[in-house]
């Protein structure tokens, strides 16, 4: 289950720089490419001639050319031409609303009529010279809600990421969960503690003594459908923590866009936007590599948790206070899906694309 009338992060521009990209998003097989004006286009990955995936084709003068028999597909999902053929009666294919924003391509897998560009969230770190961003993509075999749970309850850092960002103080410190409309916030403030290895590195990079006591914070924000932004950082103890002046802290936002591929698989776009030394590209690379290693530690746990849940489909899980963030997120998702289903326009397969 996932709501369809939302913007999901589908890919990054480099993924279709040379040739079209085929990717399944929320169960929809989609091809991404750029039109003649350089705008991203998202269409069903299905040639109306014989069903070949258009993503095996190429882009010619901003139009997608099927790699099997040369059908030329227009950016609106209607066939433009095919060698030696009249194409008026060709069935259209579905076009998906798509936007390029914040360094990502966002796609709307649901009802195109409801797509609202203003609904793509803004981020302070995007296109901001005071911030630097680095990240990557993992394809993980789990329900996207298991990853939301993972990120809305960071006590797992103590166990899964014990050698990098985990520390016992995380599960010793109670967290607080707030719901603001369809946004969920889980936050934890740990004051006067030692910094774990990852943050010691960040302090060193930022000119701070890594052995100093710090105030550490984690503020996780879930927004539908499945974005989790986590403000994280450490400040020298007693300077105000999250609100401390820049010169005594190292802070960042962990960026998590969790896009369902299908019911039990995700495209996980992870990254970190940091608010210090933004022009140090080698630091960006170093942090990205470290984060990539840390986040890879979750993969086996999530995939085997998924396997267990499929094996014991009727067993109920516990929802503790540390799980409140994930639980609220699930209830919001259920509400959104129910609302979509109640108001759903019949979306029959093979429906022609909007003109």
């Amino acid at each position: 289950m996932f709501p369809l009338n939302h913007w999901y992060v589908a890919c990054t521009p480099d993924e279709f720089a040379d040739k079209p990209l085929g990717r399944t998003i929320c169960g929809e097989r989609i091809v991404f490419y750029r039109d003649g004006q350089g705008a991203v286009v998202a269409l069903e990955d299905f040639c109306p001639h014989r069903g070949a995936p258009l993503s095996l084709g190429s882009v010619r003068d901003g139009q997608l050319v099927c790699g099997y028999h040369g059908l030329v597909m227009g950016c609106n999902g209607h066939t433009v031409a095919m060698p030696g053929q009249r194409v008026e009666r060709f069935a259209g294919i579905r076009r998906y609303p798509v936007q390029e924003r914040h360094g990502f391509v966002w796609v709307w897998p649901g009802d195109a009529a409801q797509a609202n560009v203003a609904a793509i969230p803004d981020f302070v770190w995007s296109d901001n010279p005071e911030w630097a961003y680095g990240g990557g993509l993992y394809n993980i075999g789990c329900d996207y809600r298991l990853m939301v749970d993972n990120l809305m309850d960071l006590t797992h850092e103590t166990y899964v990421h014990a050698t990098s960002i985990g520390q016992p103080e995380i599960d010793e410190t109670p967290c607080e969960t707030l719901r603001e409309g369809d946004q969920v916030i889980t936050r934890r403030f740990m004051n006067g503690i030692g910094a774990p290895p990852f943050w010691q590195m960040a302090m060193r990079m930022n000119g701070l003594d890594p052995s100093a006591k710090v105030d550490r914070w984690q503020v996780c924000r879930f927004t539908p459908p499945s974005h989790v932004m986590i403000d994280v950082g450490v400040a020298l103890a007693g300077h105000g923590g999250f609100d401390a002046p820049a010169q005594v802290k190292a802070s960042a936002t962990v960026v998590d866009f969790i896009t369902p591929e299908n019911e039990t698989s995700i495209w996980y776009f992870w990254g970190m936007a940091r608010h210090f030394k933004p022009h140090d590209a080698s630091l960006t690379a170093q942090i990205r590599d470290g984060q990539g290693r840390i986040f890879a530690e979750d993969r086996e746990m999530l995939e085997r948790q998924q396997s267990n849940l499929l094996h014991w489909p009727r067993r109920r899980l516990m929802t503790l206070n540390i799980d409140a963030g994930g639980a609220h997120a699930r209830r919001i998702l259920e509400k959104l899906v129910a609302a979509e289903q109640a108001g759903q326009v019949d979306q029959t397969e093979g429906r022609p694309a909007a003109a």
Copy 2:
């Protein structure tokens, strides 16, 4: 769906030269080996004792010996002997009509009583010293009809095989499709054009100037159940094309035996019989290697087309004039399957072999 009362190419003799070969043909698990007279035998790959695959056994004095407990199977599907056992009451296994012809083993997976050796087609290139043959075998994950479509519409060469045999003139030139009984012919004649790389090589090999203008032809012939022979070639322009004298042309027959393994997988026996320099074995090898590379280019397209068709099972495809060959072939196959089903003798599992 595939008709069963037909001869299918099952394998080549080298595949069971050293030990029995187990292969699934039209969903039937079959073991191939040679009897004491050197004749090919095709039996169910199932030992009537404990169900072991007989293809894991060996051949002793022309009889198949099960590799598990030594049951000796006769070429008629009746057990001959088993150490220490009386075998009279052993269930027989099915024997399939089988013939060796044209360098291939042909099997009849349907009703043995209807098997007619005369129905195995003849080919001018077979056992003919003026022709040379080279080819190979690919196992591809698609419905066999997708490969028939592929071969009966060569406009895909322009896109899939752009660097070897494709050229724009293919889809610029209309093709003509004829149906003659249960045979379908699609043909295209392109006159006064440049030769594509594969044919330039053939011209060079044949003592012709590869930069000369040529008349090129493609005559695809489908015969049930799934053979597609394609007469192809180039002649120096203006000498009569297909009918030009041998010294001004390079011509060949592309040989395609497409045998269903099951509903979504095929054994694809591809090759080329050429009508020039037949004794040049290194040329045979060179052409076979080149053809193998070219035909491998179709694999990803066909397997992903198959995947798309399974993903969108109710979506209708377009049938254009270039697809007429494949469309006629499908109608013929549907007719043949319907006729088989109407007249079908009940073929219950475990039926004893014909004596």
Copy 3:
């Protein structure tokens, strides 16, 4: 189908020496580890918090700690603690009766109330300084009954193991099958024959002339649920065979514990306990390596036999006198399963563990 109220060999202690072991036994996902007293514990491999596999966790002070969020699981299947949480209302997980015996861990996947430690069989070779044991573990994709059949009918040695322990005299010599309660014995005595390669090696190791004529014996004993012990050996001909004095023979017990992983997969613990030169560790290693190679020869046969039986589900197999051992074993298993089902306590999923 397999009876559940039995002791099955689950693993060997070395498999969970460093970290917990997750293994599926009779369809049950189980985690094995040692408690604070060093006793083996077997629990459902499912954390009651969020369903993570406990086998990805670690053992701390004899308690299993979930590797995801640090839940501390007690050896009785009840949660002991979790950082920052009250755990009284946590659902229990199932605890399986488990015993360490004869160098193996034995688990009872059925009704714990019926588990009777005395039902674990004794073996003369266990903890006996006159015997040496070496063995290994294979995971093979077949119904466990196919492996029972394999071991209760050794005529297959002539074919599958022709170069090591097979010889024509095996299937030339009739076997005798006895049923004693729920135990089945199949035995064969071959007198005055040459020894096959494996036994020639054993004779040489035991100071006997490997070219001498021998009396060879094979006595296979099946006991439920799926243990097959095979007394094997050779004695110089005419000294009494199985009953010959130790100095003229080489004898051993082939040990086979066949544990279902699920309906079509097994954990096959194979080994050999030998009754000569027990302190020669290099001989133990040599025999284990040889036996490992021999038993690996059965894998392809069993897996492809399983595939054939799934392909032809309604086809009946032959049961000959050589198959009487396996046939008796199957009838005993059917009787045991039927009795379990008749008397079954409702075992609903998620039932709390016994206190």
